[in-house]
Amino acid sequence: MDIMLRTENLMKRFGGVTAVDGVDLEIRKGEIHAVIGPNGAGKSTLFNLITNYIEPSAGKVYFKDEDITNIDASAICKKGIARSFQLTNIYPKLTVFESVQMSLLSHRGWSNNLFRSTRSLLKEETEAIIEMVGLKGSRDVMGELLPHGDKKRLELAITLGNEPELLLMDEPTAGMSPDETWQTVGLINQLAMEKGLTVLFTEHDMDVVFDIADRISVLYYGQLIFKGTPEEAQGSQRVKECYLGDSSC
């Protein structure tokens, strides 16, 4: 089984708090992998460590057996890891088209070109991605004017523009209506199948997790307490105690 992403004893301390405590994560090629855990379990911090948005206190991150622990965040993206954020992170005053086009331009090595006009550069590819996420009608609308669900979709489109092999999504359905949530779930499934994407995501909605995840990792106070399939997770006493059994989490 090919391992796409592996973390080794990954750790992050913020003063006296250990937010991520010796996590050994393993993401297989082509799977949809969910990281779940109660609030403050360290899910977002784990994502930030993998993409080097924050530096780990200890431990290593390997992407396809290559050590990427301390390389620049923009270089990690070039290697094929794209991410979205928990709080939607888009370009407020750029149109949908421009936003997605930039990712493609950057990925294909155009971003330093001073003399080509962007008007028609990679137009078909950009429009294909916009259509795929269902924003075709909003092609020339500024990001900030989109409704919340569409902003999330735009961010997904921006990450897809990087043509990643591994997609990290921090709460992709947060704040969405049930309809939008299931559309997004369908989209993630479709992407994983059609493009052979490996997806790592965090999610609060357990219905979503059990619907699309191939495997689950459970974080609890920074520690990885469970790895396995959704069925195994439901059967695990430890997971129930820490998380699933307690509906207030």
Binding site: T51, D72, A73, C77, E98, W110, S111, L114, R116, T118
Partner: protein, 321 residues
Amino acid sequence: MFGVDTANIKPMTLVVGLSVLVVMVGLGFVLDTFSVQVLTEALIMSLFAMSFALLYGHTGLLSFGQGAYFAFGAYGFALALTKLHLPFFLCILIGIFAAGVWAWIMGYLCVRLSGIYFAIMTVVVSQCTFYILFQWYSVTGGDNGIQGLLPPEFLVNARHYYLFILLVVALASAVFYIIVNSPFGLSLKCIRENIVRSTFVGIKTRNHMHKAFILSGLLAGLAGILFCIHTRSVVPQIANWQSSGNAVFMGILGGASSTLGPFLGALIWVLLDAFVSGYTERWPLVIGLILFAITFFAPGGLMGMISSYFTKRTRRRITET
């Protein structure tokens, strides 16, 4: 990579640009000498405003230190001309190169800071440049500056110099337009809008900001050179924070994010300088009041105001039909 695909420049922009150019050439022949000189200065200042606009309007970096590169260009040119006695056009290239090198070094330091710290650093650089030029008597002539910067004979006539400036500014604006509409230009807008997101789509943000800083320095340097030929002299005051503030004023007044904004801002500023200063010596107060009104009522500058009027009108028309 250097192939400019002209087919993709909006035909409308090309038509408007060429018509403006034709009108401007015509003005050079019909206006009186004083007005021609005012227009010359407006054109030169529009390059200075453009250098600010590239950083602020396009990249989101508030530079209060454009005077440093304006002065470095001017002094580089003036020293090459008066001390080394090199050919005129070679001196212009040397001036631009000097401004570029200074922007490369100072930009390296500045882009490591963000927000207000970036702005303060640019002022510091501008003031340091001023004091170097002001106190290094043996080379720069201190507060006397350098006089007698005469262009070649065929440019001495004010109308001829005007046409020369018009040509240079037209070429520089065309390059500016191409750059802000290139993939690099788009990456600058992305950095302006959201630097974190830009990093995570693989843009080397600091590197791109540094390049924008150098390009802006080159433009400011070119403006400085043309300005000192226009006035036949160079003084250290063109490096200080007030001179830098002029670039900020022109950029904000016209609209730093739009292509035409710097031209409009520079034109208004030079006209105020030329005509209001005849009525009252307190003309900077007028400028202050205008800036006050702009920041309150039209944060996008005059061009921003115009374009938002058109967007609203189109939207109204769409909803009516």
